[in-house]
Assembly symmetry: C2
Homo-oligomer: 184 residues x 2
């Protein structure tokens, strides 16, 4: 039995701004054949910025697919040929107005492997300083910076009523960051 699927036919393709959508006829490693749809994504980077006070720096931003504002760690889609560390330094400055002197790579994870190949590279960003002249946000960004203590983060994540105001990439990165912070 093969360890990979086989592409039989491409049926539809749409190029969006940051990713493309593909509908393909595939044969799976177990022999099943069918039409499968997914998003091809260039990958992304996320940073967990920790201020000298110990507070975590998040951004509150509008997410049109759900019609709501969510709290997330600053993140951005990789540009072609761009190193994920460079993406992250740029996005941290654009989205929060902070720059970081100390960066630790926390590893990477798949966010939604059922219908997207996006991989997210996570960083811990420390020794923050406020930029005098932060770079401008993208035209369609509408971002507010929010600082939260570790206890406030835990409370937001574990209170079981309703849908969390954080997203899964931020929760995953938070715990990856704690594993390093608690070692030091």
């Amino acid at each position: 039995m093969s360890q990979k699927h086989t592409l039989i036919q491409t049926r539809l393709h749409h190029q969006a701004r940051k990713f493309s959508y593909h509908v393909e006829l595939l044969q799976m490693p177990n022999g099943a054949q069918g039409e499968y749809a997914y998003i091809q994504h260039p990958g992304a980077a996320i940073a967990v910025p920790v201020a000298n006070t110990g507070e975590f720096i998040l951004v509150k931003q509008y997410r049109f697919p759900i019609g709501k504002y969510l709290l997330e760690f600053p993140a951005g889609t990789l540009e072609t040929g761009e190193d994920h560390g460079d993406t992250m330094r740029r996005e941290l400055e654009e989205e929060t107005g902070y720059s970081a002197r100390t960066w630790d790579y926390l590893g990477a994870f798949y966010i939604c492997p059922g219908y997207s190949n996006e991989v997210i590279h996570a960083y811990l960003a420390r020794d923050l300083h406020k930029l005098d002249a932060p770079p401008p946000q993208d035209a369609d960004e509408d971002i507010e910076v929010v600082a939260m203590t570790r206890q406030q983060m835990h409370h937001l994540i574990t209170q079981p009523n309703g849908v969390m105001t954080l997203d899964a990439k931020s929760v995953t990165s938070f715990y990856l960051a704690l594993a390093v912070l608690d070692q030091n």
Copy 2:
């Protein structure tokens, strides 16, 4: 300023098996106008099953968008009109061959709010017993059950080399489950 975006025009729609893909001309709450693409998803449920030995029960399955096998907690897409608790009981039996007597709701989270409206409802499943005659898996599923200790889970999540063999919904749900397990 409005708190919601406005739909100006629908440009493309594709119906996949478990979700639909939409390309729309939108006006964002901050006034920016543009073409945005996203997935409309019926939502999903995930369970963190804990055996009487304290081990976590995961499933190893093939994810065609990344061409790899990943370790994930059992999960499934909601069917129309289905309660997420019912989805989860069915999926746990189908994917692992276990049934659970004790269920705790852990809350819900958005997995990928930049381009999908999918919300995932998380459960802790305890008092597991092996079914004599587990229901059949879906035809294109190809699933192996794997048991891991808490220490093995931590190791898999926090070792920073390469891309994690777990996905973000499983890591997020693991920590939601620990918050309840550590209370008891």
